[in-house]
Amino acid sequence: MSTVLSEPKLPSGVQLPIYMDNHATTPLDPRVLEAMLPYFTDKFGNAASRNHSFGWEAEKAVDLAREQIAKLIGATAKEIIFTSGATESDNLAIKGIGEMYRERGNHIITQVTEHKAILDTCKRMEKQGYRVTYLPVNADGLIEMDDLKRAIDDKTILVTIMFANNEIGVIQPIAEIGKLCHEKGILFHTDAVQAVGKIPVDVNAMNIDVLSLSGHKIYGPKGVGALYVRRRNPRVQIAAQMDGGGHERGMRSGTLNVPGIVGLGAACEISRLEMEEEAAKLSAMRDRLREKLESNLDFVHVNGSMEHHLPGNLNMSFIHVEGESLLMGINDIAVSSGSACTSATLEPSYVLKALGLGDDVAHSSIRFGLGRFNTQAEVDYVADKVIDVVQKLRELSPLYEMAKEGIDLTKVQWQAH
């Protein structure tokens, strides 16, 4: 074998490197940037300044953004609280509700494939005397409603279940969860970072009480997010986690990031208007990518339910090839891997492990995150490149050779180190 990295001729419409990691972050939409720009310079006022035009101008822009965000999720403007991003929104939701409803109970229910912003916040709550139930997921990555029903007790104050998973793109049964929580009088929070702007979200139809969202996942700016907090039926109360000037109805003090908020609003507006068309385009490209990979490679495995799935997500394991070595071979394509070698902790993806996948399959996984600015030419290039590199790495893989010889790799006595 001569080289692992042979450079195919670049097809037209493809420029390297290709960004296909849109669950991590997204580029700013130029239309969003245009909306933001005046608020860095000419319109620099503090939205809390009540006695001059600079403040009024900023406040007006913030109010418009609030409307734009609310409209995307079926809320009202007054129910939107601005934050620095979804991590802060998640922290504020869980800690704020935990503190406010402590007398009613101390039990929180979440599930194992949540983002660390939820899981680590829940761990801290446990240290402070709260009980947390971490629901398992099935092989598809979905929670079972029966598990949730069983987990609820008379001390349960909050259920926090993500809308769509950031690694495997699986969409949880949000409307069912919301209905159950509403019937039981338990608050329902959802980390909807990956769902908002990508698929329809309606806080009323889905009985969502509190919802976290982020700007930079929807072609908006980084450093800005929001928390939807229901005002009616029921009126949700949240204890502030930061003391200060009492901004955002006292729930989140701090001078508002006006350009960021304007950007978040514009990003929501664009997503709302273009969601349907964009979702169809992304689903088609994702399916094309999957078909190409599956028809050209053996030992591939799609992770997570494809029935309940975000349009732009494909998480695939290329068994007998280690994820980091695959990323190295496709280094002109930006994607993510569930391989331990790519994580700071040297542990393979806990999300994939929660699906019951072996560590070896988790090590072999790649997350493709298609977004607004990807093209079909890029999808074709990525598919060809991945096929090429996987084939070359499999020539190098003793496991692939053994599997092809019919050796059951689970029966081999490995010398773990």
């Binding site: 070595s325 393979p348 003793p398 692939y400 010398q415």
Partner: protein, 142 residues
């Protein structure tokens, strides 16, 4: 993770990829690591029974780029050495040659283990030739 030029070079042009007949008495096979740990190396050596010189070496590795480079380098280094000389190769030599960062040191350890396992397997097969059957590390030959 930034890779050193040498790691990239070995990854792009791995040396001595392949397999030899593991049932041959002249061939020693070392299979180390585990799929769930994210790296498995198979290193094979072909030894001249007269001179005890390693005349050929082959490898296949499932693992990250540093693991591939470490085992590729190991096959280069063992070729032409006697089995006793090959046992002198230390993982720290591999770390130095490939400029591996601390997080990748285990790749070099695995390569050293693979050399020792291959030599151990060869010795075990050649006890009749007066070889000590001592196996430096456990071998997970399939």
């Amino acid at each position: 993770m930034a890779y050193s030029d040498k790691v990239i070079e070995h990854y792009n042009n791995p040396r001595n990829v392949g397999q030899m007949d593991k049932n041959s008495t002249a061939v020693g096979t070392g299979l180390v690591g585990a799929p769930e740990c994210g790296d498995v190396m198979r290193l094979q050596i072909k030894v001249n029974p007269e001179t005890r010189v390693i005349e050929d070496a082959k490898f296949k590795t499932f693992g990250c780029g540093s693991a591939i480079a470490s085992s590729s380098l190991a096959t280069e280094w063992v070729k032409g050495k006697t089995v006793d000389e090959a046992l002198e190769i230390k993982n720290t030599d591999i770390v130095k040659e490939l400029a591996l960062p601390p997080v990748k040191i285990h790749c070099s350890v695995l390569a050293e283990d693979a050399i020792r396992a291959a030599i151990g397997d060869w010795k075990k097969k050649n006890v009749a030739l007066g070889e000590q059957a001592a196996v430096p590390v456990a071998i997970a030959a399939n």
